[in-house]
């Protein structure tokens, strides 16, 4: 968006938002466009690696009894292929796309927590590199991408292979959760003035739904990987039948994430479709409300379906018919979306650009995958074809058709916006046809060979079973498909060299990302556009816009608006480049990877992480000594309570943590309802009296904190200090009493599964207490410097919020471990 060339504000913005140069600058850059592009490009590299792994497998399976790779290598290959594609390609690419596009689509200059963005990327990069390092070292994970125990447990996978997988998974969970928090807060709090929820582009809705799904689905997986890690590193028995554990617990936790995960990928893909269809049809999307509601329904329903991945695991028979019915329900909202697209395209004259072709391919292949999905949702058929190539064909139709094709469509659609250079159109079409033909050639025969009984994951097969032709076709198709991917790569590189310049709005789109230049300037928007409908650029011109910057005092800030109707609310300070996100990622690596070597690395890494966090949040030196008085009528710079993005971030973090804690409690009860006597024979009941006293102390610590928080709201420094110190004292007393109680336990976490659960719940609780203590101490220290004012107290509020949550969770843990066994 160019205004006047000699606009001094624009020049200041360009200077203030500029990306820092050099390698050090690379490590400190926090701009959402840079981070988003890094996510996308890195994930494409992993896509290529995962593709090569797939080609190796296909070569091995072309002919019966081939010996191109060894059985061990084959196990590593299919594990790495699945893990790479699910965790290192699909999810990160869509995260990157969202991080890049969402601020542009909603008219913001950057996301709410830019440093968190950069941190998420480093964590992801380290995880990916580490995982593939293990492949080079010949010790790649080999228990399948869902890593079932007991095969993946310490008893049957003795090498370091699975350790890499667990660590990698934990890291990717962190990266995904960080991105989800970031996206939710940005979408709720930073939309352009007038962009009420009902005027948000469907793509942004899709990202919001996917982010919420990550918030609710990822924590059980976090817990699962933590439990597996403690089983492997610390000798607990969560999944060990011999000591009262339950291997099926892993499957439940994994698929509680795994099923929504399919939709975490599919929902943004549907969002891509809803962005491309109106542009290609040159008319607004039909039934916007129905599309948005069905996006949300997909999210909601997908949480009730995980059991259908476990039909053969021996579940109550009656339940299965319920799950079959629920599984079929999900076809309704997906159908509504597709019908809305068809209705939009009906009697329009779409131009068959490459991105539109990919979209059509998406629709066709997704429907085919959906049809086999309906077949698999019925229990008898599922039992018949489980673990055959029929299933392989089904989920590749869903995932390649439903995720890879729309991703390629998105690349063709938004590449000119991101780089300012067009892709070669005809080569794009060639890419599509190579991929479409190659894909069907590869995976359609797999349906047939699966129905004829060929099992997945076996490294070879014997001749004479009628499988030869299908396998030859599949391998040939895989190479055709690879040719398509290669064509895209060539196209991307060529576009950088040829530089066919792109206009800001090459496809005549209607949403805000097309209002800025291609590529967009570092600060995205000089003025904040005022939005009145879904397609601001298709409405009356010129676009009306709001001025935020004060010409005499331009800062790195953006506009924050209200949640429901996007009214201007305050100026949001955007933190600049920082090295600390990188160091925090390194500290976490020490913590987690060290755990595989020696448990002592855990506290050491935690200490490093704490140091990095202190550096991260250290108040900047330049200015802000005291917040400036707010001129009447101007938007304020500092706000408190639910208007503050920081508090939103903390609240979502608390939701995530609550989900982890609840999953832990449910796992405890899951073990309990599989064991006739509880606590198991020989173990005494836990000490009720001491724990009750300790928990009461922690609960009581909330009172002085509330008192302190209310005090600083009125500017009472004394109340703030006194309240915080009293609260901290009570927390320390809680910690001491808990440790005392633990000393008297006559069993360790390695005794049996019950003991593992009790110790883990206690340890996790104590970790929260530690966090509260550290946070509280930092805030108290700041309080004694007189830093907090009634207008500057978000840090106090955030700490207090976390404090209340930790107190509530200690009550819950106490109820589970100490109270429930007396009532059960």
């Amino acid at each position: 968006m160019t205004y006047q060339d000699d606009d001094p504000v624009e020049r200041s913005l360009a200077r203030i938002f500029a990306s820092p140069p050099g390698l050090y600058g690379w490590l400190t850059n926090v701009n959402h466009k840079v981070v988003g592009l890094r996510f996308m490009l890195t994930s494409l590299v992993f896509f290529l690696i995962g593709g090569v792994e797939a080609l190796l497998m296909r070569m091995q399976l072309t002919r019966p009894s081939a010996e191109i790779v060894s059985p061990e290598r084959f196990g590593q290959l299919f594990t790495m292929h699945g893990s790479t594609m699910m965790f290192l390609f699909a999810l990160p690419f869509l995260e990157g796309l969202a991080i890049y596009l969402v601020p542009l689509m909603i008219g913001a200059r950057d996301m709410a927590f830019p440093r968190l963005n950069a941190f998420g990327y480093f964590v992801y990069l380290i995880a990916g590199v580490m995982l593939h390092g293990s492949l080079i070292a010949g010790q790649a994970p080999d228990a399948g991408w869902y890593n079932y125990v007991p095969l993946a447990g310490p008893g049957y996978s003795t090498g370091p292979n699975i350790d890499y997988w667990v660590t990698m998974l934990t890291f990717l969970e962190v990266a995904a959760l960080v991105a989800a928090v970031e996206l939710i807060v940005t979408i709720f709090k930073q939309r352009a003035p007038g962009m009420s929820l009902s005027r948000m582009p469907p793509f942004v809705w899709a990202i919001l739904v996917a982010a919420f799904m990550i918030v609710f689905a990822m924590p059980p997986l976090v817990l699962a990987s933590l439990l597996l890690a403690t089983d492997r590193f610390a000798g607990t028995h969560f999944f060990n039948v011999a000591a009262g554990g339950e291997p099926l617990l892993w499957q439940h936790l994994f698929w509680f994430f795994g099923h929504p995960d399919v939709y975490i990928l599919l929902v943004p893909a549907l969002g891509i479709g809803s962005a491309i269809v109106p542009v290609s049809a040159r008319r607004p999307l039909v039934a916007y409300t129905a599309v948005v509601v069905s996006t949300v329904s997909i999210g909601v329903i997908s949480f009730g379906l995980w059991v259908h991945h476990m039909y053969p695991a021996g579940l109550p028979q009656l339940g299965m018919s319920f799950f079959t019915a629920a599984s079929m329900m999900i076809t309704v909202p997906s159908g509504v979306t597709i019908f809305a697209w068809i209705a939009t395209l009906w009697r329009s004259a779409p131009t068959f650009d490459a991105h539109f072709l990919f979209l059509l391919g998406f629709i066709v292949l997704l429907i085919l995958g959906g049809l086999t999905g309906i077949m698999l949702a019925s229990v008898p058929l599922d039992w018949q074809v489980t673990d055959t190539y029929f299933v392989v064909a089904h989920f590749h139709y869903v995932l390649i058709g439903g995720v890879v094709f729309p991703i390629f469509g998105a690349i063709h659609f938004w590449w000119p916006k991101m780089t300012g250079a067009h892709l070669h159109e005809r080569l794009g079409k060639v890419t599509f046809w190579l991929m479409f033909v190659g894909f069907n050639l590869t995976f359609f025969p797999m349906h047939l060979v699966g129905l004829r009984g060929m099992a997945r994951r076996s490294y070879t097969y014997l001749p004479g079973q009628g499988w030869e032709l299908d396998n030859i076709l599949a391998t040939a198709g895989a190479f055709v498909f690879a040719g398509g991917v290669f064509a895209l790569l060539f196209n991307l590189v060529a576009s950088r060299l040829l530089r066919a310049p792109a206009t800001p709005d090459p496809w005549s789109g209607g949403t805000l990302e097309w209002a800025v230049g291609s590529p967009p300037p570092d600060y995205n928007f000089r003025l904040f556009p005022i939005v009145r409908d879904l397609y601001p650029l298709w409405g009356e011109r010129p676009l009306r816009a709001m001025e935020l910057d004060d010409p005499g005092d331009v800062r790195r800030e953006t506009l924050a608006t209200t949640v429901l109707d996007a009214q201007p609310d305050h100026r949001l300070d955007l933190p600049g480049p920082s090295i600390w996100p990188f160091w925090l990622a390194v500290a976490l690596t020490v913590c987690f990877l060290g755990a595989a070597v020696d448990l002592l690395f855990v506290p050491f890494g935690a200490l490093l992480a704490f140091a990095a966090l202190v550096g991260w949040f250290w108040p900047p030196r330049d200015g802000r000594g005291s917040p400036e008085p707010v001129a009447s009528g101007a938007l304020p710079r500092s706000v408190s309570g639910s208007r503050s993005t920081v508090l939103w971030g903390v609240a979502i973090l608390i939701v995530i943590e609550s989900m982890v804690i609840l999953s832990l409690q449910v796992s405890y009860f899951y073990l309990r309802v599989h064991t006739p006597t509880w606590p198991p024979e020989g173990l005494g009941s836990p000490d009720f009296g001491a724990s009750t006293l300790a928990t009461a102390l922690f609960a009581a610590s909330v009172v002085p904190v509330v008192w302190a928080e209310r005090g600083i709201a009125r500017g009472d420094q004394r109340r703030l200090r006194l309240g915080l110190v009293t609260g901290l004292g009570l927390v320390v007393a809680y910690g001491a009493l808990t440790l005392l109680e633990w000393r008297h336990r006559d069993y360790t976490w390695a005794t049996n599964a019950y003991a593992s659960a009790v110790w883990t719940i206690g340890g996790y609780q104590l970790m929260h207490v530690g966090v509260v203590f550290l946070l509280g101490s930092c805030v108290t220290a700041l309080a004694f410097t007189g830093y907090f004012l009634p207008t500057r107290r978000v840090a106090v509020q955030a700490t207090a919020l976390y404090w209340y949550f930790a107190a509530a969770s200690s009550l819950l843990s106490w109820g589970t471990v100490y109270l429930a066994p007396r009532l059960l």
Partner: protein, 441 residues
């Protein structure tokens, strides 16, 4: 839309309703057909009345035909609207939906017929008696439908069979009748205007009566799954219906004027009421009450003592009434926001899944009180427990998920209304200016 008369608005919204019924009606009828036929097989076979199955087909088939006719009439109306040329976009939408409705009705009529044909060729009753769960459904279905005298040959003997017939317990009948009376008296004048609220109130009271007075209550003493059904009726059917009816004003108007002054409601500290109805408190209370009554010791206590049992039912029903009231007040003054309400309902459905899932997947029978009852009904104790768990998990969770989606739709609407009301905010102290040509090249 803006500036249209209220009458036009109403007819448009009724037209939209018609269109949506046209699109969704046929698939819905098909789903009902499938589920009803499956679940009726045991009952029909036990009673030797396979004609019941054909009647289901007849009913659902006619419903689909009716929906098809409705869509056809919408189609003609939309064509006329298109020819008249007012609001072309809406007319095209209507045309699309009406065409879809006609085609879907045809398709689903065929599917329903295809599902019905096999019953003519093959006897649906073969192998029915083998499954204990099927026999449970059959017997309890028969128990609910038939008077006490006819029950002689069905079900187990003695006090475990739960065939006590309809009860006339005055402690339940009395309050229900009183509530109905007060409501009638208080809402008589506005009944026509608020007919759906009155219908919801009636539905809520009838569900309460069915759950607490029908033979289901006695059956609940024998079978855990029947008890779960009873609780689900109280919590996920009666409570939302009564919250939807919002009968508070009508009820207090129904109290005779002289007595109204004696009502302690207003005097009773408003602070207490606020604390109890504070949304987060309600959410926690709801979760706590549901979780606590599933602890085997508390559950057993309720089965052993009728007083504890009354407390159990009252607290479950009360907590969920409060919960749905919080949801009902979403977006209103002093209520929670719609977004928070969506989150509340969704987390409640996750809770149903967690608790129901634990019960369904447990490999240890937890509620020993039901062991004899289940055995008398030919079920293992685990069968009974699993059935109860799945009931809570899927249908129970579905109610909360559905509430979340309804609230979400309301959120979208509220957001558009708010944005229209505040069109173009001239931010205080900020000048607006137009960039010259946002895409100036």
């Amino acid at each position: 839309m803006v500036g249209s008369e209220p009458g036009a608005e109403t007819s448009r919204s009724s037209g939209r309703l018609r269109l949506w019924i046209g699109v969704l009606g046929a698939p819905f009828a098909w789903a009902v057909h499938l589920l009803a036929r499956y679940s009726l097989v045991p009952v029909a076979c036990a009673a030797g009345a396979t004609y019941l199955l054909h009647m289901v087909t007849l009913a659902c088939g006619s419903a689909v035909i009716a929906v098809g006719i409705l869509s056809w009439s919408s189609l003609r109306r939309a064509r006329a609207q298109q020819i008249r040329g007012d609001d072309v976009e809406a007319a095209q939408n209507a045309l699309f939906m009406a065409r879809g409705g006609v085609m879907l009705s045809g398709l689903f009529l065929l599917v329903i017929l295809a599902e019905a044909v096999p019953a003519f060729i093959q006897d649906p009753c073969i192998g029915e008696e083998s499954s204990p769960v099927a026999s449970w459904i059959a017997r309890s279905g028969a128990a609910l439908l038939q008077p006490r005298a006819a029950m002689a040959g069905v079900g187990p003997p003695g006090d475990l069979r739960g065939d006590a017939g309809w009860s006339d317990e005055p402690a339940i009948l009395g309050p229900l009748a009183l509530a109905a009376l007060l409501y009638l008296r208080g809402a008589w004048s506005s009944m026509r205007r608020r007919s759906w609220q009155a219908a919801a109130f009636a539905g809520g009271l009838l569900t309460l009566a069915f759950a607490l007075l029908s033979p289901l209550d006695a059956l609940a003493g024998a079978l855990f799954s029947a008890h779960m059904t009873q609780h689900l009726l109280l919590m996920t059917v009666a409570a939302p219906l009564l919250a939807l009816a919002a009968p508070g004003a009508a009820l207090s108007r129904g109290v005779p004027r002289g007595l109204r002054r004696l009502l302690p409601v207003r005097a009773c500290a408003a602070g207490v009421r606020r604390a109890v109805t504070y949304p987060l408190t309600v959410w926690l209370l709801h979760a706590l009450v549901v979780a606590a009554w599933h602890l085997p010791s508390l559950y057993g206590a309720a089965l052993r003592s009728s007083a504890v049992h009354a407390v159990e039912h009252a607290s479950l029903f009360g907590a969920s009434l409060l919960f749905f009231q919080v949801l009902m007040r979403a977006g209103a003054r002093g209520g929670i926001g719609h977004g928070a309400a969506v989150l509340y309902a969704f987390t409640a459905s996750l809770g149903c899944g967690a608790l129901g899932g634990l019960l369904a997947l447990a490999r240890v029978p937890l509620y020993l009180e039901h062991r004899a009852g289940a055995a008398a009904w030919g079920m293992g104790p685990l069968d009974d427990q699993q059935l109860a768990g799945v009931l809570m998990w899927v249908p129970g969770g579905a109610v909360y998920s559905g509430a979340a989606l309804v609230l979400f739709t309301a959120w979208l609407r509220a957001s558009e209304r708010a944005a229209r009301r505040l069109e173009i905010p001239p931010a205080p102290g900020h000048r607006e200016r137009s960039p010259e040509g946002p895409c100036s090249e």
